[in-house]
C-alpha cells in the first residue's frame, strides 16, 4: 500500500509537467492493485477529461478529483451499515469460495455483536469440510457463545432449521450462519445454498437480513465471477473483504460496486477477534491515494 501511495504522489508531480505517459503509468498502478483493467481505464479517462477541461494543473486538485471519483463509485457511509430486523432473530448468512476466511469472519462478527451486548447464536452449516465444525466450536467456546451443530455431512438446511427454532426459543438477537466454502462453478453446492436461504424464509418469513459474500483481498479478477454467480443465486446484500492486513490492495471491490452494486460492508485485518471494522469508502480512498 505504501508503495502505491508513493507512486501516485510521484505521478501527480509528473502530471504537473503534462507528461502523457503519466496516465498510462497511473493505469498500470491501479491494475497492479487488482483494479479491473477496464474499470481503471474508465476512471482515468474520466479524471483525464475533467483535468483537461478544467485546465487543472495543481497536483492537489488532481489528487482530490481522483479520490472523489473513486469515493463516489464506492458510495457513501450510510449504505454500508449491516441490516437488522425488528423481528428477532436478525439472520446473517456468510458465503464464499474455499479459504477466504468465512469462519474467522463469523467469529469476529459474533465477537463484535457480543460486545454490543447482543445475544448471538452460531449455526455450523459447514457440515462438509473436515474439522470445520471443530474450528467454529473452538471460536464459540472462546467467546462463550452457543452453537448448533449436527453430524458431519448432514444436511446444512437442517442445521439452519434447528438454529432458527433455538433462536426463537432462547430470544436470540443475531443468528450467524457459517456455510461450507464452495467454488461458484459447483452447481450442486450453489443449489444447497439456495435451500438454506429458503429454510430461513420459511421459518422467519423473511430472507436473511444480510447475505454476505466473503472475499479474500488477495483475490484477483476472479472475484467478479465469484460475486456474479453468488449474487445470481442468492441476491447478496454485500461483501466482507478479508485479510486486508496483507499487501494486496483489493482493488477488485471497485468493480463489485460498479458492475454489481455490491458494497463492501465489513473488512477484517488480522488474526485477533477484534480485527474487524465497518468499511469506510472515504477512508479506503484516502488510504489508496494520499
Amino acid at each position: 500500500m505504501q508503495k502505491l501511495i508513493k507512486n501516485i504522489n510521484y505521478f501527480i508531480r509528473k502530471i504537473k509537467n503534462n507528461d502523457q505517459d503519466v496516465w498510462d503509468e497511473l493505469e498500470e498502478q491501479m491494475i497492479l492493485s487488482d483494479v479491473n483493467a477496464s474499470c481503471a481505464q474508465k476512471i482515468i479517462s474520466d479524471v483525464q477529461s475533467e483535468v483537461y477541461a478544467r485546465k487543472i494543473n495543481e497536483p492537489e486538485a488532481v489528487k482530490t478529483l481522483l479520490k472523489q471519483k473513486i469515493a463516489a463509485l464506492l458510495g457513501n457511509h450510510q449504505r454500508h451499515r449491516l441490516n437488522t430486523s425488528e423481528k428477532k432473530p436478525t439472520v446473517y448468512l456468510l458465503v464464499g469460495v474455499n479459504g477466504v476466511g468465512k469462519t474467522s469472519t463469523l467469529a469476529k462478527l459474533a465477537h463484535m455483536l457480543q460486545k454490543k451486548e447482543k445475544r448471538v447464536l452460531i449455526a455450523a452449516a459447514d457440515t462438509y469440510r473436515a474439522a470445520a465444525v471443530e474450528q467454529l466450536q473452538a471460536y464459540a467456546q472462546r467467546l462463550g457463545i452457543d452453537m448448533v451443530r449436527h453430524q458431519r455431512n448432514s444436511d446444512p438446511g437442517a442445521v439452519v432449521f434447528d438454529s432458527i427454532e433455538k433462536s426463537m426459543a432462547k430470544d436470540i438477537d443475531f443468528l450467524l450462519v457459517d456455510t461450507a466454502g464452495r467454488m461458484q462453478t459447483s452447481y450442486n453446492l450453489m443449489e444447497e445454498l439456495k435451500k438454506i436461504k429458503r429454510v430461513v424464509l420459511k421459518k422467519t418469513n423473511k430472507v436473511p437480513d444480510e447475505t454476505l459474500l466473503v472475499v479474500d483481498s488477495t483475490t484477483g479478477q476472479n472475484a467478479i465471477f465469484q460475486a456474479t454467480t453468488f449474487h445470481k443465486a442468492l441476491d447478496l446484500t454485500g461483501v466482507v473483504l478479508t485479510k486486508t492486513d496483507g499487501t494486496s490492495k483489493g482493488g477488485i471491490i471497485l468493480s463489485l460496486q460498479d458492475e454489481l452494486g455490491l458494497p463492501v460492508k465489513m473488512v477484517t485485518y488480522g488474526e485477533k477477534l477484534e480485527h474487524i471494522a465497518y468499511f469506510d469508502p472515504v477512508k479506503y480512498v484516502d488510504m489508496l491515494i494520499n
Binding site: E28, I31, L32, S33, D34, N36, A37, S38, V97, N98, G99, V100, G101, R129, A130, A131, A132, E134, Q135, Q137, A138, Y139, M183, Q184, T185, S186, Y187, N188, D216, T218, T219, G220, Q221, N222, A223, F225, Q226, K243, D245, G246, T247, S248, I252, E271
Partner: protein, 443 residues
C-alpha cells in the same frame, strides 16, 4: 480452468480467421486484446508487458501480416511464449537418495495447504507406491490438526501431532519419528502466514533450518491477483522453495498467476489441485495448459484419461453401432459408466476444446447429480425398451416415470435428448455430411 483466457483468444482469433490476411492495424488490435485478456486473467502487469514485447518481435520477424495463415501463426507464437513462461517441461518430485524425503509446505492462509498435503500424500502413495507420513505443524488455526488427521486417516496415512504449540519442535520430532519408522516420504503441513509478517516468516525459516527438508513447496491459490508475484518472491527469499502447488483450479479462475510466478521466481509449478476430492490432484503440464489457454482444450489429458479407463473393444463396438445408427439405451448406460470413470463431468468438459462459437457448450451446466435421474429412468426400463427405445409409448412412459420416481415429462425429455445425441454423434463422426450437401455450408 483458464476458460476465460481461452474464450478471449477464441473471440480474437475468430475475428482474424475470418479475414484471412492481417493488416498492421489488425495486429495492433490483436495485441491490445491479448494485453487486456492477460490482465483480466490476473497475469502480472510486468509479465504481460514482457510477453507482449516478445510476441510483437516474433510477429514482425515472421512477417505475419504477409502470411496467408496469420491465425495459425499468431496462435503458435502466443502458444510458444506462454509455454516458455510456464517452463517447458513437466516437473517431477525429486526423491532423496536416502529416505525419508522430507517435504515442507508453505503459503498464505486459506490457499489450501492442508488439503494439498493430503492430496500429495495420496498421490505419492498411489502413483509412486511410497509410504508417506505427515506432520501437523499448524498450531495456530483452530482445528487445523483435526482437519489433517481426519483427511489423512481416510486414506491410511499416518499423522504426527502434538498438543504442544512449538511448530519447530513438532516438525523435528515428527520427522525423527518417521525416519525411525522407515517412511519413504514425510510431508510437513505448516500454518498459513502473511509474507509480510516478519515473526511468522522467521518461524518458517527456523522450521526449515531445523528439519532441513529436501523440497519446499509453496501452495498458491490460482485465484490470486497481481500480488502473486510478490508473495512468491518474498517466500522464496525467506525459505527458498523448489516448486509450486497451484490450488483451486476447479473454479472458473483465469489462473494468470501461474503464468507470472514461474516467470518471476523461476520455480516450476509442480502440481495442480482441481477439486474437492482427494484424487483431484495432478502433475502440471505447461504445454497442455498453454494450449488450453489458446482454446484448443486439454485434449492430451483427456486422451490419457480415456486410455486408462476405456475398453478398446467396447469402444470399437460403440463406434460401429453409431455408424449403423443402432445406438440404444444400453450403450448409453455403458458410456455414462466409462465417462464417470474419467472424472467428474465438469472436469471432462473443461478439457474439451470450446468448439469455437458453440454457445450451447458454454452455457451448459454439467454436474454429476444430473445423471442420477437419467440413470434411474434407464434403470426402470425393460431390457427390450433399452434396446429398442422407439417402442416406448404412453403407458410405458407412465410406468417408467413411476418406477424411477420422476415424471413423464422427464422421461420425454430424456428420450428427446437421446435421439438428439444420436443425431449429433452421427454428425461428429462425419457420416451425415453428405446428407445435407451442399447446404451445410450455408448454416
Amino acid at each position: 480452468m483458464f476458460d476465460f483466457l481461452s474464450a478471449k483468444f477464441e473471440d480474437l482469433f475468430y475475428k482474424i480467421k475470418n479475414k484471412g490476411k492481417l493488416s498492421p492495424k489488425d495486429l495492433d488490435q490483436a495485441f491490445r486484446e491479448i494485453k487486456l485478456a492477460l490482465l483480466e486473467a490476473d497475469v502480472n502487469f510486468k509479465v504481460v508487458k514482457d510477453l507482449l514485447e516478445k510476441i510483437k518481435q516474433k510477429a514482425v520477424g515472421d512477417r505475419i501480416t504477409e502470411s496467408l495463415t496469420p491465425y495459425q501463426q499468431v496462435v503458435k507464437i502466443v502458444n510458444d511464449e506462454i509455454t516458455r513462461i510456464l517452463g517447458s517441461s513437466t516437473a517431477k518430485v525429486n526423491l532423496a537418495a536416502k529416505p525419508p524425503t522430507v517435504i515442507m509446505m508453505v503459503g498464505l492462509q486459506g490457499t489450501g495447504k492442508t488439503s494439498a498435503v493430503v492430496k500429495l500424500a495420496n498421490y505419492l502413495k498411489n502413483e509412486k507406491n511410497k509410504t508417506v507420513s505427515v506432520v501437523a505443524a499448524d498450531t495456530y488455526r483452530p482445528a487445523a490438526v483435526d482437519q489433517l488427521k481426519d483427511m489423512s486417516e481416510a486414506i491410511g496415512v499416518q499423522v504426527y501431532w502434538e498438543k504442544t504449540k512449538d511448530p519447530v519442535q513438532i516438525s523435528k520430532r515428527g520427522v525423527q519419528k518417521f525416519r525411525k519408522q522407515g517412511s519413504d516420504l514425510v510431508i510437513i503441513d505448516t500454518a498459513g502466514r502473511l509474507h509480510i509478517d516478519k515473526p511468522m516468516m522467521q518461524e518458517i525459516a527456523s522450521i526449515k533450518k531445523s528439519v532441513n527438508p529436501h523440497q519446499v513447496f509453496l501452495v498458491l491459490d490460482a485465484m490470486t491477483g497481481q500480488e502473486a508475484v510478490n508473495i512468491a518472491q518474498t517466500f522464496n527469499a525467506q525459505v527458498e522453495f523448489d516448486g509450486i502447488i497451484l490450488t483451486k483450479l476447479d473454479s472458473d479462475t483465469r489462473g494468470g498467476a501461474a503464468l507470472s510466478v514461474y516467470y518471476v521466481v523461476r520455480k516450476p509449478i509442480k502440481f495442480i489441485s482441481t477439486g474437492e476430492k482427494i484424487s483431484d490432484f495432478a502433475l502440471f503440464h505447461p504445454d497442455r495448459i498453454a494450449s488450453r489457454i489458446l482454446g484448443m482444450g486439454d485434449l492430451l489429458t483427456l486422451v490419457e484419461n480415456a486410455e486408462k479407463t476405456i475398453d478398446e473393444e467396447k469402444a470399437k463396438k460403440f463406434e460401429q453401432r453409431i455408424r449403423k445408427n443402432e445406438l440404444n439405451f444400453e450403450d448409453f448406460v455403458e458410456q455414462i459408466k466409462s465417462l464417470k470413470k474419467m472424472g467428474s463431468l465438469q472436469q471432462v468438459f473443461s478439457m474439451l476444446p470450446k468448439a469455437g462459437k458453440n454457445k450451447m457448450l458454454k452455457d451448459i451446466n454439467v454436474d454429476d447429480s444430473q445423471l442420477k435421474p437419467v440413470e434411474a429412468i434407464i434403470g426402470s426400463m425393460t431390457k427390450e425398451e433399452r434396446r429398442k427405445p422407439h417402442i416406448i409409448n404412453g403407458s410405458r412412459k407412465k410406468r417408467i416415470a413411476r418406477g424411477s420416481g420422476t415424471s413423464v415429462a422427464a422421461v420425454n425429455k430424456l428420450l428427446k435428448q437421446f435421439s438428439n445425441t444420436k443425431k449429433m454423434l452421427r454428425q461428429f463422426s462425419g457420416m451425415d455430411q453428405e446428407a445435407d450437401f451442399p447446404f451445410h455450408k450455408m448454416k
